[in-house]
């Protein structure tokens, strides 16, 4: 048995703990609820109980290298604390890392959830063969991660990769960050729900209106299914989503000229519905992308045999990217 580490996905609703071998195999996974209303100490106790169960089981084989935790919001990596998180109310300033290190008597790392998802895709996923990549996580909002010269690039204070707050509409929709027209107001799960509501109110989306009347929720999946069935209103929503994403990507590509940009998170599953509009917008807006685009960016093996081409592709580890990436932190 090889050495192993623990990866934790600490969400506002779900708490997942995994044992991952140093050579990248998922050994075991425990899924719990985050009992956020019982306070930080209780959540940390739940986390430690699960970690002890896993380490007891796998310690016989190899060494336990430590634990990595991915959490939503602004994380102070150096201090090991949550600085600001809408999904973890009451956690600001709580010494997550120090408390876990004390209880586990092991090395612990705390990082942003989008950062660890990117590390996972770099280690074992879409980016495993490239040294310079960005991961864009499309969820309720938009998260991001930069991997440069083969290593995570957290920035001066761990806040790099805030792609979702790139301005794509100077006088656009107000964002919680204080800006207007941020990309995540136009290309996220919440943006799809907003566009669906607006389409119904405009009277131009009969199928969506019928679905709404029957009490269906506007998950991105529901709108995606309608788009793939040919519903014009649902298709317009995903085209708009794709254009917004293309505008955001154009800025990132012009700034960084990376080898690869990986789209992950739940909403990336809508790829077939948004990718054509995304590539069209990206090509028309980014001089760097236009100069380095593969002949057919939608082809499965994009540009693989064309030399230095900019690859925009889907993540392949799904919801486990963050568990793998978090488990990678103590193994690095």
């Amino acid at each position: 048995m090889p050495d192993f580490s623990i990866g934790v996905d600490l969400g506002g609703t779900n708490l997942r703990i995994a044992a991952v071998s140093a050579d990248g195999r998922m050994l075991d996974k425990i899924a719990l609820s985050t009992r956020i209303d019982l306070g930080c100490d209780q959540v940390v106790s739940d986390m430690c109980d699960a970690i002890f169960r896993l380490t007891a089981q796998y310690r016989g084989g190899g060494s336990f290298l430590g634990a990595g935790i991915g959490a939503p919001g602004i994380i102070d990596f150096d201090a090991g604390v949550v600085r600001k998180s809408a999904n973890l109310p009451g956690w600001t300033g709580y010494p997550v890392r120090a408390e876990l290190e004390r209880r586990l008597n092991a090395r612990v790392f705390l990082d942003n959830d989008a950062h660890v998802a990117g590390l996972g895709e770099k280690w074992l996923g879409a980016g495993r063969d490239v040294d310079n990549m960005a991961m864009i996580t499309l969820g309720t909002g938009i998260g991001g991660c930069l991997v440069l010269n083969g290593k995570a690039f957290p920035g001066m204070s761990g806040m790099s990769g805030e792609f979702g707050h790139i301005t794509i509409e100077p006088e656009g929709i107000p964002c919680g960050c204080g800006n207007r027209g941020c990309a995540e107001r136009y290309a996220s799960a919440s943006a799809i729900a907003r566009m669906a509501r607006e389409a119904i109110e405009s009277g131009e989306a009969p199928t969506l209106a019928k679905a709404a009347a029957s009490g269906a929720e506007f998950t991105p999946k529901a709108v995606y299914d309608l788009a793939m069935q040919g519903d014009a209103a649902a298709q317009r929503i995903f085209r708009s989503f794709g254009r917004a994403l293309g505008m955001m990507l154009a800025d990132i590509v012009n700034v960084l000229n990376l080898d690869m940009y990986v789209l992950g998170g739940g909403v990336a599953a809508g790829w077939d519905a948004f990718a054509p509009a995304m590539f069209e917008e990206l090509r028309s807006r980014s001089v760097v992308y236009a100069a380095t685009a593969p002949a057919d960016p939608l082809a499965k093996k994009e540009g693989a045999s064309e030399g230095k081409k900019t690859i925009i592709t889907r993540a392949i580890l799904g919801g486990d990217a963050g568990l793998f990436g978090a488990a990678r932190l103590p193994a690095l």
Copy 2:
């Protein structure tokens, strides 16, 4: 005498060649015209004659390490050729580096002019104490350079740092790159000239109109002088310039979270007229900047004693940044 290298600033109009010691002193400088109409071979001959004069003079002391050349446009660093340059017509595909290496019998590097200016500021200028910085060069257009973990970050194909083509106005002014609303259409020397013309045509800029009638050219300097003398129309132009720059910087800061952003190039001399609007826009649009801004970003020693703060500051090497940076290439 220490070792030395040659730095070349190959512009569409001016050709400057400098001998720089390995410890960063400017030993000598030769200024010529770029005889672009006589063809690449003649320009390369002029360049080599000047280099031979300098190397003959300084070779007695230390070793000649080689030459670095900064050129405008899209440069293929690996191949040592100009890929696309509006200012160097006819140079596309000409083997600049190979030809110079043959004639000089020395190591030669060819890079983008904005990249070498950034390397100069990192080596000896505003960025000498930081490992992660971007340089933004404000000239006719906007150039850029990324220095990450202490080293130039050229990107996959040497095209990183195209900050001037970040979209700040989705339906804005068409740009030569194919996009609309690029930052350099609103925050460059050519943008100032356009805004001055528009202000005169609107009838709301009597002083500018008078200056124009007397045949004065609308250099950024002339408009800047009027702004500092209190002319309202000229002040509006620089405020607009500052807001555009702030929007562009907000995107860069959100993506990278670097320690320092250095503004250079001729138009950076207008700092006093545009910086207040730039900082106001930047703070309102970038969540990362707002979280890391020094208390008084306009103070001379911005944030130096405040720990990890985002510093936006002026370049200090002026027009020689590119010569120093180019000379640094063979010495690295």
